[in-house]
Symmetry: C2
Subunit: 235 residues, 2 copies
């Protein structure tokens, strides 16, 4: 067998080519970064936990009719997925104010929103991933109006599926980030991962943070909370 | 007659009460500020120029079916307008990249856009007037979905009316900012001003800036360009 070729190494995952040009293999690392890579560290067992949680979510979403890039999970750190041409947008769905929204609007973190917020960020580290309005996305030809509408609809659907699933496990879905791409047939699929690295997840009873904010904000017990989250979601 | 009461003093205008509770009088000052008030100065005759230009634009827009707060202009620095309950949004329409958009997206200033951009900023100096997505505006109950759609439609209409009017006078309308409010009957009217303080206006032949960027960026000949703009628009 030919040596595996690294297509891309990101902050949390390595993407390898496979024998099939339409399939890539993701390797989930334990390394963690925050604030555009300014803060770096390791969260022990984050790789297996994030890939296990992503697998649960993607299988659940597929059942609910959301097309994802997920194929299978050959080992605890590896996921085979469909090769996508990524759309350079981060789609953020928010049910409760936290993080940048709380800061941007001067609203206390934890304030419930009267309706779900959908945000678009342009995925470009050199520009600091700026927030975009819909018309920016059209005018700058990042994504067509029709495809953006489809993505927005899917993002709301993901929220509708994950919120009750997590509530049953005493977890509040505060907000989450999605990324989408086109497969070889031009279909838009949900890509990347859905994990405590890309979501805010709070304990429903104590409001304790069970996600990457523990690492970002030096709240301690990072690994313990990732492990507890993993138990509640995957078992 | 009773002494006139100042209702509000802003960076460029003073708002006075009148005998009619539904009418206020705006006094256009020569003072100029930029960068959230960090830069301060005076542009000689800015008051009369901006009120004269605003009068021309608002009369033109009224004729085209856009409802504005404009009543009349009793003197060269004064404008009588309908009292509005302002919506705390700055609506920005962009035809060509410039200013914050150029910086935010790393695109050279002066790049034509494939379609018009409509941006929403939350009017709050203490937060630095943050950019908002539509769903922020709904979820944070700043403005209803219906009213926001109406405002967006009006903003595009203003662009359609002003762009050819200015082009006939060898002026390119690069971008502009609008503010809206509710009158005593709950109707949404276009308020504030439309002037070289709130628009980017470039000479169509030379691309020279004829607006407040001359002050913001210390480009010199600020008063000469305001006067030339005034001649082209009001004569």
């Amino acid at each position: 067998m030919a040596e595996e070729r690294v297509l891309y190494e990101g902050k949390a995952k390595i993407t390898y080519a496979t024998d099939d040009p339409n399939v890539v293999r993701l390797y989930y690392k334990d390394s963690a970064t925050a604030f555009d890579g300014k803060k770096k560290g390791t969260i022990k067992d984050k790789g297996p936990i994030n890939s296990a949680i992503t697998e649960v979510f993607f299988k659940l979403l597929e059942k609910a009719g959301v097309a994802t890039h997920y194929i299978d999970r050959p080992s605890d750190r590896e996921m085979r997925v469909k090769m996508l041409r990524m759309i350079p947008l981060e789609i953020v769905v928010r049910n409760v104010t936290a993080g940048s929204l709380a800061k941007r609007m001067g609203i206390p973190e934890g304030t419930a929103l009267s309706s779900t917020i959908l945000e678009y960020y342009y995925k470009d580290d050199s520009l600091g991933d700026p927030l975009l309005c819909e018309s920016h996305i059209h005018a700058l030809e990042i994504c067509s109006k029709e495809n953006l509408a489809k993505i927005g609809k899917t993002a709301f659907k993901v929220n509708e599926v994950l919120t009750p699933f997590l509530a049953q496990r005493d977890i509040k879905l505060i907000d989450f980030k999605l990324e989408f791409g086109f497969d070889s047939e031009g279909e838009i699929l949900l890509g990347d991962e859905i994990s405590p690295d890309s979501c805010r997840l709070w304990d429903a009873k104590t409001n304790e943070k069970m996600d990457k904010d523990r690492f970002r904000r030096d709240l301690g017990q990072v690994e313990e909370f990732y492990a507890e989250l993993n138990r509640r979601i995957t078992s």
